[in-house]
Symmetry: C2
Subunit: 329 residues, 2 copies
């Protein structure tokens, strides 16, 4: 199944079920009005929604309407929890090598993960509004999962059953703050403005063979200003999404609707490109002695999409612009 | 005004207005059913609720019932954002001195702040359920504010008007994870299980002269197993709550219901005691060469309260026990 949230003037939007080909949708307002509601009542709605989804895909749903991905909010427009990992070790290793950073202790056994701001997620076509280019604007292409209620101490094995939906996101980052915030040890705050999500969140079966070992084994295609930037595959993730959920739940339960992210998708084969500018700059440094690739400018366009081998778009595309917000800074 | 959220079997509970003396309450279910709803519609409800509050305090509210603080959830049982600072520099300085930690760069000009988990706040009388004592269980007494919508780039001067409610909280911490998580730079995740809040959230005028310069200028009285542990005053906060809001909003807007915390309340006068065990252990180290005070055990009781000079309890008391959660760890 595929789900989207349409703008309706309210903070939580209106949940719709979207056809596999992303061409049509049906409102769920009379059943499960919002994505948060769906995550809290998943067991109750899974079977009837599967039947409705079948009808929608077969063209037998009378209430169906054309799905317009320019009208979406994030699938979950605001969440009570957003935990983002850095589960592709290749990414961190490249940055360490390029900039002579100290190695992370236990990085191969304990995932790096931070709490992210979850009160203001952006839709796939929303502008990314930021105060200044001087903060070194970057994108980060990631996959993520959304869970139902996870009990404290949930094992990695048990965590798999709590993965209900998979998402594609742009973890917008301001690199100018990263070094200070990492050194302070308190994690990212000013470095991580609002995060953007692809139009639809999908059940794991929508990935067909692309969902293996609780990893999204598909290339994440990124175009920056209409030029290819990367198509790194999620299969190289060093920790599975189940591992990440178990890490987050070690000392506390996780509320339904918690989103757990992979961190920047990164592959060892440099021909796959990168999923963020910071990594490309690390490769510049390693290959040419200095970081050549600039950060983003106002007016820049960023596009992210993941497709099945047959070309079908799994999540729809993130396709958005960087725009200056008028603030007194 | 004072507000509490009563348990009603739903995740967001039921909002009530509580009398100044904490003896009676009136349901707001027909107007603003939840605290999140109140924070999103504050401007609309402030005046009529002030009138109702007057009647409640005067004993002229026919729908009033006895307020039982054993039935509360956190005032906001789950939030879309919880940003916690470390705004009492004395606390960090003591830990640095005791354990030879490297000094934080710019600590006097840029507040330390982390994103906290906000999906599962505990009520004032809820048990604190944790998997093992081996994680070094600690409490942290803090004050916090709750805001309405804050625009990106909000100045410290403008931030004051967004402070709608003030809270008292126990930022439960697992010290066994702190060092690794700070060194990793990604902030606190396993080190910060669910946070507890005092029964009522109050408007700043309820503090009378105790609200000055956007600081809670009242002692935070802490008893651990019925013995005095500290009564540090919030007036020594090095950054005001307005400063903290402006820090959090530099690169993004903050959604209504965002909670911003002070960090452990800490005073330079050691006769005021401490608001967490970690600081007491730092003082042990400085004064006696080794940390003597143990961390918490299952069955321990922690009580926190802040009172006006006339003895009136501002927020009601946090009064809870540490209990073992049965998990497979």
């Amino acid at each position: 199944m595929k789900f989207a949230t349409l703008k309706n003037g309210h903070r939580d939007g209106s949940l719709v079920l979207v056809s596999r080909d992303l061409n049509s949708a049906v409102s769920l307002i009379d059943h499960v009005p919002t994505m948060q509601c769906l995550m809290e009542t998943w067991a109750q709605w899974e079977a009837p929604l599967e039947a409705l989804y079948q009808d929608l895909n077969d063209g037998n749903c009378q209430q169906a309407f054309a799905f317009d991905s320019s009208l979406v909010m994030a699938p979950l427009p605001r969440s009570y929890q957003w935990c983002d990992a850095s589960a592709f070790l290749n990414h961190g290793e490249l940055l360490q090598k390029a900039f002579n950073l100290p190695p992370q202790a236990e990085m191969e056994t304990i995932p790096l993960m931070y709490q992210g701001a979850a009160d203001d997620f952006l839709g796939a076509r929303d502008d990314i509004r930021l105060p200044t280019e001087d903060h070194n604007i970057d994108f980060e292409g990631e996959f993520a999962v959304m869970v139902d209620d996870v009990p404290m101490g949930c094992s990695s094995t048990d965590a798999a059953q709590h993965i209900k939906l998979i998402l594609l996101l742009n973890d917008v980052s301001l690199r100018g703050f990263i070094q200070r915030e990492i050194q302070a040890g308190f994690g990212f705050l000013q470095a991580k403005p609002s995060t953007s999500f692809a139009p639809v969140a999908v059940t794991p079966d929508e990935l067909v063979d692309g969902w293996r070992n609780e990893r999204v084994c598909l290339p994440l295609n990124i175009e920056w200003n209409a030029e290819w930037f990367g198509s790194a595959n999620g299969e190289e993730m060093n920790f599975s999404f189940s591992d990440l959920i178990a890490h987050a739940a070690l000392t506390r339960k996780l509320g339904a609707g918690t989103i757990v992210g992979s961190g920047t998708v990164s592959n060892r084969d440099t021909r796959k490109g990168s999923s963020c500018i910071a990594e490309r700059r690390a490769l510049d440094m390693i290959q040419e002695g200095k970081p050549k690739t600039p950060f983003m400018s106002f007016g820049d366009r960023i596009r992210m999409e993941a497709c099945l081998p047959d070309g079908g778009s799994v999540f729809g595309a993130i396709d958005q612009y960087i725009v200056q917000e008028n603030v007194n800074v």
